[in-house]
């Protein structure tokens, strides 16, 4: 009896705490949105105007500038294409690393692939700059796609390998008995089993690609710029145009939010699979 009421009270307390934390998490989101709906002069008064008439001038200016819509498009391309390509390229490699019995190769190579990710990007900036200029790829989405591919692959390989490791042996054995070929075991058995894992890996890559700033700023000008670069353009000449910045920020989040809603089923499930590796 006592336990029950104790449980009830603690549940209520915890729920309250949870709501407070949720407010903490979402307040900046609200703040950003309301910043984008005001003229900068009105947005920066103290005490803040909680009730106001929203205006859409900032968004109109943003869209009209042409730059931002291009940045949005570029960001979408640069988020999706490398993620997809790196998944395609990493799946075989991760599978091979997972199943090979050459333990030397398995343990060491997978680690070295991961260590690529640990490289501070700055140091490869200049060589990449030179490479892409010579190849005539500057200020194109292809430059970014290539770079993001090489950054996504290490993480993808590492994560996917973990997922592959956890496929139960009985499944493989059963498939072999049924006469599946090697390729079919990979393609028709393993890949569907770790579907959630693939989604999660893709999500990790996508989040990184979407938010990446350093390479985007270095390798693009006005044709291939992405959203983070566009946002930064509005922090210029000592006049931090909060209205434009905020609306750019809001528009920069929306695609990711949509993405998150679409994959929400896989979020937790994917994290479970093979994370223990």
């Amino acid at each position: 009896m006592q336990r029950n009421s104790y449980k009830k009270i603690s549940t209520i307390l915890f729920t309250v705490l949870g709501v407070i934390l949720l407010l903490f998490a979402l307040f900046p989101v609200y703040w950003l949105v309301q910043l984008s709906l005001k003229i900068p002069r009105e947005a920066l008064v103290m005490p803040p105007k909680w009730f106001f008439i929203p205006i859409v001038d900032n968004y109109v200016a943003l869209v009209r500038s042409g730059n931002f819509t291009r940045a949005l498009l570029n960001s979408l391309i640069v988020m999706a294409v490398p993620s997809f390509l790196s998944l395609v390229a990493s799946l075989p490699m991760a599978y091979g690393l997972s199943k090979t019995s050459a333990r030397v190769v398995r343990d060491n190579l997978s680690f070295w692939v991961l260590s690529l990710r640990m490289l501070p990007p700055i140091v490869v900036l200049i060589p990449f700059y030179v490479m892409f200029t010579r190849a005539g790829l500057m200020d194109t989405v292809w430059a970014l796609i290539i770079i993001y591919l090489t950054v996504d692959m290490p993480i993808a390989v590492w994560l996917l390998k973990g997922f592959f490791d956890d496929v139960p042996y009985e499944t493989i054995a059963a498939a072999k008995i049924d006469g599946y070929s090697e390729w079919e075991i990979f393609y028709k058995i393993h890949v569907p089993i770790i579907k959630s894992g693939i989604v999660v890996t893709g999500m990790m890559c996508a989040i990184f690609n979407w938010a990446e700033f350093l390479f985007a700023m270095t390798l693009t000008d006005h044709k291939a710029l992405t959203i983070p670069v566009a946002i930064f353009q509005y922090m210029s000449f000592g006049r931090i145009n909060w209205g434009l910045l905020a609306s750019a920020g809001v528009l920069g989040i929306v695609p990711m939010l949509i993405f998150m809603i679409v994959i929400r089923k896989h979020l937790v499930r994917g994290m479970t699979l093979g994370v223990a590796k």
Partner: protein, 452 residues
Amino acid sequence: MLEKSRRMWFLIGIILLVMSFGFCVSAVEVMQPEDASIDWQQCAGQEINILDIAHSTSMILEPMIPQFEKLTGIKVNHLMMDENKMRVKRTEDLLAGAGRYDIHQIGLTIVPQYYKAKWLEDLTPFIGDASLTDPEFFDYEGIGKPLRDGQIFNDYICAIPNMFCGVYPHYRTDILAEAGMWFPQEWEDVPSLYMPKLKTFMSNTYKIPAFVTRGKKGAGANTAYASMLHRDWGGEWFDEKGKPIFNSPEGVAALECYADCMDPANGAPIGGEGLGMYEIRQMFYLGQVASILTSGDLVGMFDDPTTSNIVGKWDATIAPRGPVKRTCLLWTWAYGMSSHSKKKDAAWLFIQWATSPATMLQWGAQVPPPRLSLWESEEFRKIREIHPGWVDAERWALLFGMPDCQPLIPEFPEWGEYYGIAIANVIAGRQTAQEALDLACKQVAKVVGYSE
């Protein structure tokens, strides 16, 4: 001796100013590009890339670029961005030798480093080439001499200035009028008399800080403004042998005064050690501080009704003097041609056009032109009615400003880093001025390769 000649120069300056008021009867006459003696179409069909900053000068130039394209048949890609991001891209492009951008926007203090690295093309032959340059149209000497000199090393012209600004105090005319105060003429009076008095006056009404200047560290950030005071106290940076001597008693006194100006107890805002140029400008035009030390090219920003709360309610004054002299920091942005560029002639045509009197006249009074002649125009007369102090201060800077307030050495970024950190530490009260400067001198000595 020195005092007398200084006074004499000042007097001459005043006389010149007064005389020039009398000359504003007629509009300024300039030569139009069509009348120039060169063939503008000689590079038609080429394409040039310009890396620029999102600065009032560039933003005013942007809509005029179609004029240039029509005149010359050259396609121009004009890229504007925040100056810090621009610096990174500029460095990358020049480091990689890629020649991706033909024209770069170069700040005054980085010219020595770029000169040493041979990243900028010498523009002397271009100016002297009659087929490329019409001397009357371009009027190179019409650009203020201190500005030109800042870009010349050993007769090697690195860049052509396209804007300049002096640094001097700006203040709220309404607040100071209400308080019955003037901005002081001596730097020592600012933190000891001016700020506390204004703070007391405002404590019941405005509740905003009295004064703010740059505190955030960075080469050319807080170092620029603190260097003005350093010079005002008679301080130097290096002696004849190249030893850093800015920890001299003069330097310490100057830094202490600067730090006092950023002391919240005297009426400065909190967090002074981190307030950079963007923040203090924003504070001023939002009406959150009564006076500010800042550069003089912000007329457009302060009078913009969509973002500014102080339209028409501000003015400026000539920079105060220190115990030894009165200096005003002179800053320019200039167009430099990349030595890796593959379209140098076309790039030169653009630089010539963009910095010519004809083009600059079209800017009106939005941007202070580096040409003294253009200050006689109609627009400046109008501005003079609202902000007379600003016009006088800016012209004083053009005539008497000091481009080498900060040391113009190739190791400028490192010097600025150590000196800037020292300033921030003193403002925050973490070190005394003497300690901070001693440490900075030691660090800079290592950088410039000086050893005992």
